[in-house]
């Protein structure tokens, strides 16, 4: 069940004296949607290109489906949309896919299947150059799905899409994931990753900062309490959550590492200590909070 689809080991790519990817070791498990998260220029695309054998690593290795990346039999089992769709502008969407299908001798029915999947069947006969950005992107996803690959690599598939297009694209990825498709989805949009990914790898300046489940990364739920006098409140809360379990948020509120179910006990404790409780809320950290925390403090993979 925990079959590794992708495993990179100390993957490094150097351009001149700039390290684009620095000792990245990541794993993608079969059947999961892996979010590859990082700001623009963090090294996401470079890592994915090495996975596909488009560029050679300076050091380290990538194995895909148990074999070295870049070998024809491996590449044939990966479907990819890397850094924008690359198609022949003068061909229709369908002819573009028919051309690609011929490389693996896939029948035209397969072309029509993926066109349907991305909802492009109606415009399939139009020239690619006349497509909107969203349609181009969808054709790219369709091309990636030709031949039902074992691994789908989508590099920023929602780039340039309008909100409706983004929602459609997410729904598509979710439906693929439900069907058991392994997907690597790179993105700089955190909400997107939080919504559809099982596990994430966070990359910044070429370094993989963290790799874990979205839930782990966000941490457990917390409680926020606003109470006066603050010092007495802090002392009371610390008795329950421990000294490290409380943070001052600066606006008179305290953030406490306790689940929402601990709220009644906490309020009792505060009231017992003679503290006035103004507000108690359960809060969850978003991936965005975690991400900015991480990219600014440069936490290392643990």
């Amino acid at each position: 069940m925990n079959e590794l689809v992708v495993e990179t080991d100390g993957l490094t790519k150097r351009y001149g004296d700039r390290l684009a990817v620095d000792l990245v070791s990541m794993t993608v498990v079969r059947g999961e949607v892996y979010g590859f998260l990082g700001p623009n220029g963090a090294g996401k695309t470079t890592t994915l290109r090495m996975m596909l054998g488009l560029i050679r690593p300076t050091a380290g290795s990538v194995s895909v489906l148990g074999r070295p990346a870049g070998r024809p039999d491996v590449t044939a089992r990966i479907g990819a949309l890397i850094e924008g769709p690359g198609f022949y502008p003068y061909l229709s969407g369908r002819d573009n896919l028919r051309t690609l299908a011929r490389y693996r001798r896939l029948p035209d029915t397969e072309v029509d299947r993926v066109l349907d999947l991305v909802d492009l069947a109606e415009r399939a006969k139009d020239a690619f150059k006349g497509y909107s950005l969203g349609m181009k992107q969808r054709l790219g996803v369709a091309a990636a799905m030709l031949g039902s690959p074992d691994l789908l690599v989508l590099d920023e598939p929602t780039n340039g899409l309008d909100p409706a297009g983004m929602a459609d694209m997410r729904a598509l990825v979710v439906s693929l994931a439900e069907a058991g498709q392994t997907v690597i989805l790179s993105s700089h949009i955190l909400a997107e990753v939080q919504e559809i990914c099982d596990r994430v790898g966070v990359i910044n300046n070429g370094e993989l900062l963290r790799e874990s489940t979205v839930a782990e990364l966000r941490g457990g739920a917390t409680l926020r309490v606003r109470a006066t006098p603050e010092d007495a409140a802090l002392a009371a809360v610390m008795r329950l959550a421990g000294e490290d379990g409380v943070r001052r948020l600066g606006d008179g509120a305290l953030e406490i590492d306790l689940p929402a179910t601990a709220a009644p006990g906490l309020v009792k404790e505060l009231v017992g200590a003679g503290v006035d409780v103004h507000e108690v809320t359960a809060a969850e950290r978003s991936l965005e909070d975690v991400f900015f925390e991480m990219t600014s403090t440069k936490e290392l993979v643990s």
Partner: protein, 281 residues
């Protein structure tokens, strides 16, 4: 082998559906028809002297348009005009894939780079074959038509002569096409490749040949250039009396054949090697 065949069929599909391919091939057919027959025929009918007639007689002019002269006519226009257009096809086929990102897409389909680039070269080669075959068929039709119109008996050229001309024509076009492909690969785009390639094929080599008359080192150098080799290969067949631009007898036919074949081989190998090693960023 299967991967190569698949790649070739994919590449043929997209080249076949590309208007640019047809524009270039069509331009060649129009030029070939105009310079091979139309101008001569107009000169013949109107009784005026024509620049390709060498001051010959009307009978000589007619003889050039009849089927027996077909092998010569077929190859005459190839060293310069045909070659230049074949180079454009090669450069377009290879060069555009970088800007469009289609090389990237193609390289992630499965077949190895050797197979995909080889398939692309093979597809370009098949277009060259189509180009020379279509020219032959066109010339056969037109020369027969002229023979009939002018009340001449239709005498077909020997099969050997036609085959020789066909082979020569194919080699010259193929050399320029794969050279164009290589330049397209190196320049990572069609515009520089087409621009530089055309200036080279149409201007620089001719100038160098001119300078070669003054400086012997340059002359020796021009002997190994593709234009000289292609021109000499055709020249070995038709002689340099026709005055057609690009047709020369600078080097012997055998040496020209070896040089042209070497260019074809080197360009193919170099294009494949460069593409196999390249990072597609």
């Amino acid at each position: 082998m299967n991967a190569l065949i698949n790649s070739t069929s994919a590449e043929l599909l997209r080249l076949r559906k590309w208007s640019a391919t047809w524009v270039v091939v069509g331009a060649w057919m129009a030029l070939a028809l105009a310079f091979g027959y139309v101008f001569n025929y107009v000169a013949y009918v109107s009784g005026e002297e024509n620049f390709t007639s060498d001051g010959g007689t009307r009978a000589g002019l007619l003889a050039q348009m009849l089927p027996p002269a077909l092998p010569d006519i077929l190859v005459q226009g190839l060293p310069m005009f045909g070659g230049a257009l074949a180079m454009v096809i090669g450069a377009l086929a290879a060069g555009n894939g970088f800007g469009w990102g289609t090389w990237k897409t193609v390289f992630t389909q499965g077949p190895s780079r050797l197979a995909t680039v080889g398939g692309s070269l093979l597809a370009v080669t098949l277009i060259v074959v189509a180009m020379i075959t279509a020219t032959l068929v066109l010339y056969l039709g037109v020369s027969s038509l002229i023979a009939v119109t002018e009340g001449q008996e239709i005498v077909m050229p020997s099969l050997e002569a036609v085959a020789k001309a066909y082979g020569t024509g194919f080699l010259v076009l193929e050399m320029w096409a794969v050279l164009g492909f290589l330049v397209g690969v190196i320049a990572k785009g069609p515009s520089i490749a087409v621009g530089l390639g055309l200036v080279w094929a149409l201007v620089v080599e001719n100038l160098l040949r001119g300078v070669g008359g003054l400086i012997s080192a340059v002359e020796t150098f021009t002997h190994v250039l593709p234009g000289t080799a292609g021109g000499s290969l055709v020249g070995a067949l038709v002689g340099d009396g026709s005055g057609t631009p690009g047709v020369v007898t600078t080097i012997g036919g055998e040496r020209a054949l070896i040089t042209v074949a070497a260019y074809v081989l080197v360009a193919i190998v170099a294009a494949v090697v460069v593409m196999r090693r390249r990072d597609l960023a």
